[in-house]
Amino acid sequence: MEVFFFRLAFLLYLVATVGFFIYFYTLKPEALRGARGVLACGWLLHTGALLAGLKILKAPPVANFHGATSFLAWAVVGAYFLLSWRGPKVYTLGTFLSPLILLLMIAAWKAPEALWPLPPILQSFWFPVHALISLASYAFFLIAAVAAVMYLLQERELKRKHLGGLFRRLPPLESLDRLNEKCLKYGFPLLTLGIVTGALWAEKAWGRFWSWDPKETWSLILWLIYAALLHERLIVGWRGRRAAYMALLGFLVWIVSFWVINLWMPGLHSYGRWS
């Protein structure tokens, strides 16, 4: 059931991506409505897949790479809807975001789908709390990075006075900057909470809060980057290009922390191993 729902969700995300590209080309509101509708249906099916995994494991199915990536894609779509509802109006965001959602889904699909339970020592109340909160924070940072790319593209159009199709289709700089900031304001507290709950979980499992394993170290770097960005934004008034570059730097560090370390570096976060 989990696999069936997951694949259906993937299919709908694919259709939604096509819809978002049609919207980007035509700028017809019906195309956007259609793409969002299909994306929402895909998200519901995706929720079904996660619930099916939850039912089998009696725990959130995020203990392996397939589950974690699948949940991350789900959280990105959820965050997209939350930001579309509460955040600044960035109508073409879906066009830039949906290919990334598809990539995450493909990565999850390619990873072994078998759901396995955690080793007994790691089974704890803190596991779902830590994993879900951390993954949710990543979802917001991923959207922040997409907003940053859109900002840089639009800024380049304006600076070069090249006011063609891309200029017309990309939203105002201010909206993109506000979206970036909003993602940071949602993502940073979640990341902080994710790290704290991870430390509590580590203490319960291994008797120590922090062990400087590669994942922990990179998470700390990630936290420091976003903390610095938030500080500069709120205190100095950083915005625009500088904030966009910083968000992209955070995204690169996240790639190292989530993909490189989980997949190829030995450490305590062995859940992420490909096989």
């Binding site: 304006l158 006011l163 700089l173 201010e174 909206s175 100095v236 008034g237 915005r239 625009g240 500088r242």
Partner: protein, 461 residues
Amino acid sequence: MVDGPEREKILLVGLNHRTAPVEVRERFALEKRGEHPLARLKAHLPEVEEAYYLSTCNRVEYLLVTPERERTLSGLKDFLARETGLARPHFEPHLYVFEDLEAVRHLFRVACGLDSLVLGEPQILGQVKEAYREAAGRFRSTGPILNRLLHRTFSVAKRVRTETGIGSYAVSVSYAAVELAKKIFGSLRGKVILLVGAGEMAELAAQHLLSAGAARLLVANRTLSRAIELAERYGGEALSLAELSEGLLSADIVISSTGAPGFVITPDLVRPLLRARKHRPLFLMDIAVPRDVDPGLNELENVYVFDIDDLKQVVEENLARRKKEALRAERLIEEEVLKFERWLKELAVYPTIKALREKAEEIRRRELARTLPRLQNLSEEEREALEVMTEAIVQKLLHAPILYLKAGYHRLGREAIGTVRRVFDLDGELEEAFRREDRRLEGAPEWSPWEKERKDSERPR
């Protein structure tokens, strides 16, 4: 009249910025020089059934529905000569006359801004709506054809606006400024504009930005009195040029148009302000020649500089895009003209359908009235059943000829109407001919006394 009633012609007579010089156009703007022309038109052209009058600074147009084309056209020209005080040879060469579908097409194009001086400008639609409101509301000079045509015009214009990008590219420097500002700031609400120098074009751009939502206007000028005068007009604040950096500190949009020989706003002036401004974006429009704003400022983060050439380039690119969109709009208009043509044709068919139904209904009632008294002991229910049955027979019999009329008209033109009118003798000509023939055979007088009596009794009292 075997071909049915004569159809009215739609006639559009007017002149615009392309066909007539301004001195002729202003003479034609009659509503500005006294009474509205629709108030007097009916008395001069009694045969006109419907009328509408549009007057803008670039065009004056009369849209008329009349069964007599030549008489109306000549009468209208006389009317115009009298009202404008211009002799016919002085304005006739400037007039254009469109008929029927040509008139419909022209009206659609006008409402969509395709015939405007600035291609695709949106104001004209409002003016067409206002002209229709005047005609339909104040002068009650419109009827079924113009009502339908004008409503169709509004929906065509709406369709063209939504389905093509004709109106979405700013084609004046001031509007380009608003468009660019919106792409930087999103909304202009709460934004502060700083005018450096007080040229006319700068003022116009500021006006557009204010009407697009900007909150406040600061004016910095070498002559403080001029700055004060301008600031007062817009409820703003005046500064001297020495206070420019204060102005730059609070401004979001700067429009510069001084006559200074060198750069007035330089990176050295702006750079120290950036941190104090909390890196808020700064949009500088330099419309002065020679330039006021050092182009090097564009390199600074969150600072965007557009000089007059950049702005003109935006305008030209946008105009080229509008022209491309205009082609798509023309295609849509052709489609809509065809739709209207279909409606017009159905309109021509309608009186025949009505006559056919009336005749059938009359026969049905007459026959029923003759039959029912003979059928005694009929219950109410049985009477009702007979009514329903006869109605059904009539409807079913008429179904095919009506379909033939509606569909056949498009293929066979007025011939279909003629055939149906003849076959069903809707004009009573056959009946009359037969009656004459019968009388001739019986040797009865052409006008029998009993028939005279009947005709007298039918005469309205």
